[in-house]
Symmetry: C2
Subunit: 183 residues, 2 copies
DNA sequence: ACCTGAACACCGTTCAAGT
DNA sequence: ACCTGAACACCGTTCAAGT
């Protein structure tokens, strides 16, 4: 996937940064870049060379999870009718949001980036797939797009653990109802 | 309303801080506390004496607007059926969000504070009033509360001006539909 | 009782020097 | 070609000294 030629030490440093970042995120709920560099045993400049922005680092950290989320969309569509598939997909997002709060930030960040580049990004594509199926089906209103949904479920990243348990899934139900055609 | 005895210079400084803060917010889209102190011509410590946290300052800055929002709820209810009143109230929130992005931050912040104190805060009370009327009426689902709605409309604070114009009100419609009883 | 502003703490970011 | 880490910039926050 990543055919970039790199010096061996560069590749190793990159890996060490990623692992250090995971360690930092696991303990605290924040990601101080200098702390990551220190943990990784590299200079701060090296971190910036590999990940020019915090979002780049987050995106890499959660690429695996984001990939799973993306891959789930067509699978769910094959197994359920569109609106159910969408509901199930929301469930997965809620799962990630609960266990790894950072996924949401990465999702939002990634979508932002790609929207400005006039593409939709992987998460956006997955959502578009689900929404389009629902629109064709008549179970999803036709005047919504992926970005709308990303915005609506963005509250997930602002809930603490207790509140996520109390309200997270319930609110997704409300959003889902809002996405149905009026009347 | 504020019966606290203060020295004359203290009162004056407080006012100067508030006005300086408004000026700063008007020009930039951010609120650097040291910049406010400088603009106001007071020491940083003075700012902290009057407003221990950034939220305290924001709350004061937008108290007038928040009061208007709160006062609008019963008025709207007297003039319209509950679900329409709620829709109109949303419109007002959207107005504020568009013109003064800070109102939303203040609203969210204020609600947070007061929730933890087991009261609901003025905005929460206004929303509860609207929701209760709708529930009694059968036009609002019974399993939602003010905090749910605050979370759902929180995206408003994350839109830039262009996107606010494109999606702000539209998304409120979707939220409103989600708040209706299912089926 | 209140104010001032130097000083500290903290973090992100850059860049000259080194390998 | 890549790395290091001192250094800078920036902001929030505190507190000793002053009125």
């Amino acid at each position: 996937m990543n055919g970039i030629r790199r010096r061996a030490d560069a590749t190793e440093n990159r890996d060490r940064i990623i692992q250090a970042a995971r360690r930092v995120m696991a303990t605290a709920d924040e990601l101080k870049l200098n702390a990551v560099a220190k943990q990784a045993g590299v200079g701060q400049g090296t971190l910036y060379r590999h990940f020019p922005t915090r979002d780049h680092l987050l995106a890499e950290l959660y690429r695996h999870d984001v990939d799973e989320l993306v891959a789930a969309a067509p699978t769910l569509l094959a197994e359920h009718d569109p609106i159910t598939a969408l509901a199930r997909w929301f469930d997965r997002v809620a799962d990630y949001a609960q266990v790894k709060r950072g996924v949401l930030a990465a999702v939002e960040g990634a979508v932002w980036q790609d929207l400005s580049a006039h593409s939709h990004g992987p998460i956006g594509d997955a959502l578009t797939l689900l929404l389009d199926a629902g629109k064709a089906d008549g179970t999803v209103r036709t005047d919504v797009d992926a970005r709308d949904v990303i915005l609506l479920i963005g509250y997930l990243s602002r809930l603490d653990e207790t509140e996520a348990n109390m309200r997270g899934r319930h609110l997704l139900t409300i959003v889902l109802d809002g996405l149905r055609p009026s009347q």
